[in-house]
Symmetry: C2
Subunit: 362 residues, 2 copies
């Protein structure tokens, strides 16, 4: 790679497309002849209007969103959404369904509980350390929404198909697989995603909200905790996180114009993940931790025969220019996060290294 850059397998903040970073760098002192850095441009200026509106338009085109969906930019990450969702959508007598597939789902459920909002955990894969995505879930027909985490960064699982909810709108935390594949958007009442995995730097959370959900938001909420505030002002009730939105705009442009859309992106992601899983399935030295039908295309979690070997593996990989292969501190082991921006060459290099490491230590 150019500029002594590593292959960055971090789970997030994560690798971004190199052409995007180069464009940011090049214009950093003078954005589009404004005489200002993009970090200095007023959010109430034609320059920034173009940025935010283009980011929204590209997101809508890429996902095929019609006018009943509004695209918003919030702050506080997915963690803030865990609280805002029940605050906005669950009034007196309302209840929501949650599926628990790991750390982030658990946190989402915790916030509904703190708020004293009625909710049912209708399925969980906790019985086997969240190694799988639950099937055949009985959702409550009168639930206001069904909350899921589409990809589980820590446990390395992902919903291959979204569940049938009998018409209950799905709300999905898509922080770690947003824009990695096309979606049947009609199933969703809301989609949200912290940017720092697939679409940009940390500091902004995208929210795609359907009009019927937006109508539920009560006026009794503080302004900044009400989705309506953001929808009414094109996410500019107050100063938005401009730089992060600008990065998202460039990533969406890269997705549309360089990658060629979400079908092409999914194909590339399947190819990348396939290289890694196929290799691991052919050896006993590396063991993918998730059930086969629940494997994530984004976060490939795996174990080596011993923790000692895992530590050696992570260290030796880092020395060869492959960073971030350590599993989440809560579970240990190894993890290769291979988001949209990870090139296939990164996976090929990793697989070659894994072969060598096995030969020496297997």
């Amino acid at each position: 790679m150019s500029q002594n850059r590593i292959y960055n397998f971090n789970a997030g903040p994560a690798t971004l497309p190199l052409p995007v970073l180069e464009e940011i760098q090049e214009s950093f002192l003078n954005y589009k002849s404004s005489g200002m850095s993009i970090t200095e441009v007023s959010h109430r200026s034609p320059w920034f209007d173009d940025v935010i509106n283009d980011a929204i338009a590209r997101t809508k085109r890429l996902l095929g969103l019609d006018d009943k969906f509004t695209v918003l930019f919030l702050q506080g990450g997915a963690s803030m959404q865990f609280a805002m969702i029940p605050m906005n959508f669950l009034g007196d007598g309302d209840s929501a369904d949650y599926v628990n597939t790991g750390t982030w789902s658990t946190k989402a459920i915790k916030e509904a509980k703190i708020l004293g909002k009625s909710h049912n955990v209708v399925a969980s894969s906790e019985d086997r350390n969240f190694a799988y995505i639950p099937k055949d879930i009985a959702f409550n027909k009168d639930a206001v929404y069904a909350h899921i985490t589409s990809n589980n960064t820590i446990k390395g699982t992902q919903w291959a198909q979204f569940p049938e909810t009998g018409g209950v709108p799905i709300i999905s935390d898509m922080s770690s697989d947003f824009m990695s594949r096309p979606l049947d958007v009609e199933k969703f009442g809301m989609i949200y995603a912290g940017a720092q995995k697939n679409i940009g730097p940390a500091g902004v959370c995208m929210v795609i909200i359907r009009e019927d959900m937006l109508k539920r938001c009560p006026d009794t909420l503080p302004s900044m905790l009400n989705y309506k505030t953001y929808a009414d002002k094109n996410s500019m009730y107050n100063t938005p996180p401009c730089f992060s939105i600008y990065c998202i705009q460039l990533v969406m442009k890269w997705l549309e114009e360089t990658v060629g859309g979400l079908d092409a992106m999914e194909k590339r992601n399947r190819e990348k993940a396939g290289l890694l899983y196929d290799f691991m399935d052919a050896t006993d030295f590396y063991n993918a931790t998730a059930d086969k039908d629940s494997r994530s295309l984004m976060n490939v979690t795996f174990r080596l025969p011993t923790e000692d070997l895992e530590q050696q593996f992570i260290k030796a990989a880092a020395e060869k220019g492959m960073g971030g292969l350590k599993g989440h501190r809560s579970v240990g082991g190894c993890r290769a996060s291979i988001y949209n921006a990870m090139p296939v060459e990164g996976i090929q290099t990793l697989v070659e290294f894994m072969k060598e490491f096995e030969k020496k230590n297997g």
Copy 2:
């Protein structure tokens, strides 16, 4: 200026120190030999630990904060703080005092009201369109806090001295004059500041909180709305806005090492504002809108004889490389925001231009 950069008089996002921008640009593809952009580095890495800890250490040194103060990084801007403050500090039977000095104070009061929290507006300058800072305010001795806005970006006023509250902790929104002068920190229970005026790009809000205030935060709040969550985890309960925090670190370094601390910064700011106010006081063509004893050193608001002349003035200045001189859309007129990073040459250039414009149109 280099690189065809303008003198940027925007109220925020605003001009940043050029050496800071240059350092960000130079290392943007490969931060400190990590092989990653700072936007790609994990927040759970030694690289980012150094960034956030250095930003905090420099802030504490610059302001002379002892261990009873904790420095936090939040998201959602000052507007989110307007809600979090009453949520965290006002329990049953508690009440707070607010001073209303303009748009942002009004919004802070509005959020306390939405939340149904007991509060008293103990002083207001609304009677004269917020052109002054109220004096001799009778604060309630049993108020949990006294909320003020230290500098009013839109109305061009600033507290020259902070009020005597009889021991009630002051909570101040310092978004637009944070780090522009030394503070007697002992008076404050909490200080907060959206970064996008004096200390960095939009997308992060610094909070300095005293231990007695931190103890008031109730466990019944959603995690992301409780100051304790941030204090317990060094602002990394979830992924923080890493890039914005990195920029703040560099601005704090610039303040310490290039400017030479907050005494030097204040001196420079007084000199800059003095140039502009002294010039305007000597002519009838330009009229500063704030009362003399309440004038802001950060946002110099002024009017010309007619709105038509104001429009011509703003346009002609922009053509000469001076941007952002339009007053806030809610009040009209002109405004020169001259934050820390605006060099004295920017003010000199502006004053020269103002003289010429008056000569032609006066």
